[in-house]
């Protein structure tokens, strides 16, 4: 009985079920054929190794800081060639190995059925009790997400090529008309909520139709974005306004990248004056350590940081109550960021970070509201743009 319950989940293993919606391989798009080929290659290697009575293992490109290089000419983070072994017969890796194979089988199923799933959907699709135990294949979605990234990097496939997407996060308004999966959308008429930026924004799905915006203003959070939208900042300054709900997800970063490259729009970022804000900027500009292999499609080396700056406390005459004391962790992170190769040689950035450490406090964009509700939209950002007072 328990056996049945467990098996029903196992990807397309149930013979009677899979063919029902399976599309013949020959009719699949070329991209999917290629992905299926890589998945099969991964599986075949396991069989071959087992046939030779060897212990199966996977080589997974390392997604750690030690395996990223800063490409100084292209000004983006690139992934190095370090690989981590993931062995089935290694106590600390056995489960991850099994999970990687499960994700592989899940993706193969999605491609075969020409469907897509969210990260969370994939997690539920693959989660089940391991036969004969009380252990779950995945305890938590946070167990599953990194494994999907592992599969992406090891197969050198994009996430959308695996038919998996992240949940939407981030919105856009402004002078832009686009077509999303066949629907015409005018980003100037999106009301107070804006256009919700999808996870996959590749040209097959999102096509730019028309825009006469002059630049893109990317803000950190929804709350700040609303202020700008309500004050119709984008109308006044003829721009596109985006936010990424904190650390921008891939869809937002990819969209910014396309706006920058395809529509030749400069990208300005308005982020909090804290290590996290610096980091978000760094990710938008150079790419992230975790997704270094995607930097080419995502990074915007010419993006600029317009604020907040550590100088703003004095410059704007903020009161102490608008500040937040730096935590131990903040200080550690700030020092770490100062040593990133792409910040290391930039004097203004070193000064900026130093200044924050000397201040001993951080400031959120919202702190400007203490001066005036619309201070940030009517004075602060316009002044920075006017003076071209950015950090690079």
């Amino acid at each position: 009985m328990a056996k049945k319950k467990v098996r029903k989940h196992a990807a397309s293993a149930t013979p009677g079920k899979a063919p029902k919606s399976k599309i013949p391989k020959s009719k699949l798009p070329a991209r999917d054929k290629k992905t299926l080929g890589s998945l099969k290659g991964m599986a075949d290697k396991v069989v071959q190794t087992a046939n030779r009575s060897r212990a199966p293992q996977l080589d997974i490109p390392s997604r750690s800081l030690s395996n990223v290089k800063f490409n100084r000419t292209q000004k983006i983070i690139e992934m190095g060639s370090n690989k981590n072994k993931r062995e089935l017969f290694n106590l600390s890796q056995a489960k991850a190995y099994m999970q990687t194979m499960l994700v592989g089988s899940g993706c193969k199923e999605l491609i075969g059925e020409q469907k897509t799933l969210s990260l969370r959907g994939m997690y539920y699709r693959l989660k089940h009790t391991i036969e004969g135990t009380k252990e779950e294949t995945f305890e938590d979605q946070s167990d599953c997400d990194p494994i999907i990234e592992d599969v992406e990097v090891s197969l050198n496939a994009l996430r959308e090529e695996l038919h998996v997407y992240a949940s939407n996060r981030g919105s856009m308004v402004g002078n832009l008309q686009l077509n999303d999966s066949g629907d015409d959308i005018d980003c100037a008429r999106m009301g107070s909520g804006g256009y919700s930026i999808p996870s996959i924004v590749e040209p097959e799905i999102v096509k730019f139709v028309k825009s006469n915006a002059k630049f893109v203003l990317h803000v950190e959070k929804d709350t700040v974005w609303r202020r700008f939208n309500e004050d119709k900042f984008w109308k006044k300054h003829n721009c596109i306004l985006t936010h990424g709900g904190g650390q921008p997800p891939r869809g937002v970063r990819r969209l910014l990248n396309r706006l920058h490259h395809e529509l030749k729009l400069p990208v300005y970022c308005l982020l909090d004056n804290d290590p996290w804000g610096y980091y978000i900027y760094s990710v938008i500009k150079q790419g992230s350590i975790n997704l270094a292999y995607e930097s080419k499609r995502m990074a915007i080396p010419k993006a600029r940081y317009i604020g907040l700056s550590s100088r703003d406390y004095e410059r704007c005459g903020l009161s102490p109550s608008a500040t937040i004391k730096l935590s131990e962790n903040d200080i550690k992170r700030a020092k770490q960021i100062a040593r990133y190769p792409w910040f290391e040689k930039k004097k203004p950035w070193q000064k900026e970070i130093d200044h924050m450490l000397k201040n001993g406090f951080k400031m959120e964009v919202e702190s400007l509201i203490s001066l005036d509700i619309s201070y940030v939209t009517e004075e602060y950002v316009p002044a920075r743009l006017q003076d071209r007072d950015f950090l690079d």
Partner: protein, 705 residues
Amino acid sequence: MLSSAKRKRSPRKKSGEQETSDSGAGGAADGVVRARRRRRGTAESMAAKQRDISVSEFFAKNRHLLGFDNPRKALLTTVKEAVDNSLDACEEAQIVPEVWVHIEQTGESRYRVSVQDNGPGIVKRQIPLIFGKLLYGSKFHRLRMSRGQQGIGISAAGMYGKLTTGKPVKIVSKISIRKPAHYYEIEIDTKKNIPEIHNGRGNGVDFPPGEKGHQLMRKKGIAWVSHYDADKEGVDPREVRSGTRVSIEQEGRYQRGRGSVDEYLQQTAIANPHVTLHYLDPEGNETVYSRSTKTLPDEPKEIKPHPYGVEIGHLVTMLKDTDASTLAQFLTSAFSRVSPAVSRRICEGAKLSTRGSIKKIGRDEADALYQSIQKTKISAPSTDCICPIGEDLLLRGLHRVVPGEFYVASTRPPAVYRGNPFQIEVALCYGGTSVVEKVTYEVLAELLSQSDARTLRQFLVNTFDGVGAEASDKILKKAGFGSRQSPGKLKSSDIDKLHHAMQNVNLTDSHAMQVYRYANRVPLQFQQAACAITQAVTKMNWRSYGLSQSRGALPNAPVTIMVHMASVWVPFTSESKEAVAGYPEIEKELRLGLQAVGRKLGMYLRRRQKVKQEGERRSIFLRYLGEVAQAVSSINDADSKDLYEKLLRVAERKTSEADTKLDSRGKKIEETGDFGGNVLIVDQSPEALLEKGGKEQDEGQQALF
């Protein structure tokens, strides 16, 4: 009456002194107290009351000194005295011992204890003295390793029998297959400390040798095991050539558990693997502990006392008793390790002439001599007079009786305390199921009905080895009883509950270490806390050997440890021979012996841990193999079953260490070779038990290393 010389030998001398020479004073003191209340007594009136106290009378009043404190212990003491004597006699005569113990209930609180051996027997004229006179024996006056040493044992048991039932001791003894068997019914005259013979008009009765005599005895109702293996089919019974059977009827109480006859016999079997014991208990159950070796222990040598071991009083008696005429002659002939040169130095130190006449040595001279001996350097006595059990037989003995998975033994080299050679041996058994888990429902019900414990908790602690307060609380909790529940009023469904809990509770952590103490191969069952052996065990830091232990307590682990002290003279803390006194030399040897087995245990536990980890490692791999095989086959349509099988084989190879043995450093070792030569490891897996057809194992089947 005993001479003072005899009393001076043992630590019990103090009480001995009061018993006899001070007895007048004791009586007088008594008189004074009473006199104060009424009328003043005079020296004359007191003198009228002052008289000799017979040793027998004294012991009749102070029976606890000899182990007859209560009916239950009295039963044990009688068995013990008789069995110890039998084993001593057999070994001295170099006969492989076979002992029959029979306990029958003859009244509500009356039992008849009969113990027979195949020893040398006792010559006719000695029988009445041995069994009918206290302080009469062959072992007191010599320094030789033996179980008995005082000459009180068996006659005291006979006297207790007479005091509590009025029945005489019955003895059958036979010294040769061709000689008659002597039969005596003897009673001790407690006033005069002399035997009173009841049968054969004061001469005992003789039965002729051979079948004729056996038939006659049977007809008269006199029990005698005449043949070995009489009931065994297909074996031609061999006649018992010689031996002694003593039968004592006494007040007693039979109850199993700690401090019982059963425990004594079991522990005796452990320390005496060359003995076969037949035990017929009051309920008619027969238990046989068969010998696991036919080799007798080496014959202990008798030695002369070493000067350092002699106390002043004893020295005086030796001077009185000696045949030597000069002091030098006396010293060199009466003591070991005293050469003419050493005797000269002793005399010089005492400012006495070596040629001085013994006759002229008075109390003061003796004292000077004694002081000088202490100051003179004299080499240690030779120690080859001690016959230890030996590591191999310790392992066999322990394994014969205590189930476990790991056994280790260590026999220390001989050492000396106060001029007395001694030797310490330690053996240890780890693991195995405890009695608690093995006891059947029927036996449990019976034990409960016998018990006089007030609470169930007390019952568990008193009845089962290795069960302490903590373990019994665990059991009671599991069974859902309060700790004050009385054991008497349990319904059968309650007993069932208790039984179930006992079998299913995990006691390994709350299992107190079991300590079996031995002196000259005799188990010591009482006064555990007062004994130097127990103290040495609790003082050890067992945590460093992988056991859990709270400070100053016995460790909590499924461990049975046996410690044997062999010596020409074991220093007991009292006459009842229940606890060993702690001399620094003895404590040191105990510590070293315990450390030796502790280290090996630590090695074994670490290795076991490692093997267990490997096993766990394998089980983790196996857990994921099915998922991997299925995921892979869903991607490339490979045969998932075939793939699983192949991965399984790789997994087994990868974790093959789980099947082999590892030492502490994780390096492969060749079986137990690494442990050295005194270890026995028993495969504990259920498969191994099945292969061997249950717990019973042939001697040849286990490897002794």
